[in-house]
């Protein structure tokens, strides 16, 4: 068979029967689009999380009472420093602050700006402003969601926090954090650590938890035992456990995503079956006619296989393109709410483009193979029938 003539006829049939192919391409495209969008969003969030985890300390210790976290004593920092292999012990002060009872909440984070590293990090985040001005008076950096919410409630420049002692603490909004940090900091308020302690009700001797590094990863196992031996009410979390929980959550093979896959696969199979049973009789006649005009079984199968591959590839490419545009250019409106939630502060996140080619290949195979089989099996059955019977 001359390739030129074959492709000419193939493309002719595809264009002439575009109405027949259009509906199946549309359905397939939508399914690939939905699946790809979900996977793109989760891959992107996972990527961003893994980027932040790279710079996180190795261990976090906190104090618990009756299973609930309570303030951690600052003196634990000295005890931790005495353990061989521990470095960079840092207390952390943070907590939830409710705008009013049963209303939206903000995440207050206290930072010790006297530390040189914190100072440098701050300069990177708020590049175009005089940093020294931030340290004059009680000032805070707010996430974009916080800024919008406070503005909507007529707090344009400052906000009066209520401390646990019942006193008001006015804090001025210095600047909004960059939009690239929305994934972490949309509902965040960054304050000097002492101010944060005041508002959250911590004393100078208390912190929410304490962080530290253990550069030698071989010592991590042993470290947990050493820490548990320090205090009975000490709770330890290490970075590997956090990474594992992220991986489990965003592993497309497990949990929610597997269910999503299966539902989509079942829906697709049903639609495909219904669609092809409708066109079956005309397809049967066409195949019988091609056979009657001298086409061999191989020629018919090759033609139908190539036709199906083209339809599958076109719908897959269109679905992935649409998903890419929807997620990484438009920011996945509506769908992102599933991942980011919609109850607290509204978040607008730009997703970092992440293409996991193994996942994309899996989507293609899961979608393409049943599609091709559902087309080719009936075609083969008709092709091997005598042309006269096929044309009836």
């Amino acid at each position: 068979m001359n390739a030129n003539a074959f492709w000419h006829f193939l493309t002719l049939q595809l264009v002439k029967e575009r109405n027949k192919h259009f509906s199946i391409i549309l359905i397939s495209m939508m399914i690939v689009f939905l699946l790809s969008s979900v996977l793109f969003i989760s891959s992107s969030i996972r990527f961003s999380l893994e980027e932040t985890l790279k710079v996180q300390p190795d261990f976090v210790v906190s104090r618990t009472q009756g299973g609930t976290a309570i303030p951690t004593p600052m003196e634990w920092s000295d005890e931790l420093l005495e353990i061989y292999g521990v470095s960079h012990v840092t207390p952390r002060v943070y907590g939830r602050y409710f705008f009013e009872p049963k209303a939206k909440s903000f995440l207050l984070v206290g930072v010790d700006f006297m530390e040189e590293q914190s100072h440098k990090n701050l300069q990177v985040l708020i590049t175009s402003t005089d940093i020294k001005a931030f340290f004059e008076g009680n000032q805070m950096l707010v996430g974009q969601g916080v800024k919008e919410y406070l503005n909507a409630h007529f707090y344009k420049d400052a906000y009066n926090f209520v401390t646990p002692k019942g006193k008001f603490q006015k804090v001025t909004m210095f600047k909004t954090l960059p939009s690239q940090t929305n994934l972490l900091a949309n509902d965040m308020i960054v304050l000097p650590i002492d101010l944060a302690r005041k508002i959250l009700g911590y004393t100078d001797e208390e912190a929410t938890d304490i962080l530290f590094n253990v550069p030698n990863t071989d010592e991590w196992e042993l470290m947990t035992d050493k820490l548990s031996a320090l205090h009975y009410d000490l709770h330890v979390v290490n970075k590997k456990e956090v990474q594992k929980s992220y991986a489990n959550l965003y592993n497309y093979k497990g949990g929610v995503f597997l269910i999503l896959f299966l539902i989509l696969l079942a829906t697709f199979a049903l639609i495909l079956y219904q669609r092809y049973s409708m066109v079956y009789s005309s397809e049967r006649r066409h195949i019988g006619l091609l056979r009657a005009l001298g086409w061999s079984i191989n020629a018919v199968l090759k033609f139908k296989f190539t036709e199906t591959i083209v339809v599958v590839s076109v719908s897959y490419i269109l679905g992935v393109l649409l998903a890419y545009l929807y997620v990484f250019v438009l920011g996945a409106p509506i769908l992102r709410e599933i991942f980011l939630g919609g109850q607290n502060l509204h978040n607008v996140v730009s997703f970092v483009p992440v293409l996991d080619f193994s996942v994309l290949s899996s989507i293609f195979l899961i979608y393409a193979l049943p599609f091709i089989a559902s087309v080719l099996i009936p075609v083969w059955k008709v092709s091997v029938t005598d042309p006269k019977e096929a044309m009836l």
């Binding site: 969030i45 990484f328 502060l345």
Partner: protein
């Protein structure tokens, strides 16, 4: 191959090319640097999930069990 089909394929190739360009030219370094700086500043890495934080849904008997209707299981407690 016939013209309408060729035009369509060329259009698809153009779209894939645009997508590829967007992907390759995306400022990953700048993005990573900003978000990592934020994480270094606060020492916090969990997502800013827009969930209603409700203490009453916490079960003291089974603290490891996540509450229904929440996605804040990523927060380090």
């Amino acid at each position: 191959m016939i013209k309408p089909f060729v035009s369509f394929i060329l259009f698809l190739i153009l779209m894939v090319f645009l997508m590829g360009s967007h992907y390759l030219l995306f400022p990953y370094e700048k993005n990573s640097h900003t978000i990592q700086t934020m994480a270094k500043l606060t020492n916090l890495s969990p997502l800013s999930l827009s969930v209603a934080y409700d203490e009453s849904s916490f079960n003291a008997t089974y603290p490891e069990m996540p509450a229904f209707g929440r996605m804040d299981f990523l927060y380090e407690r």
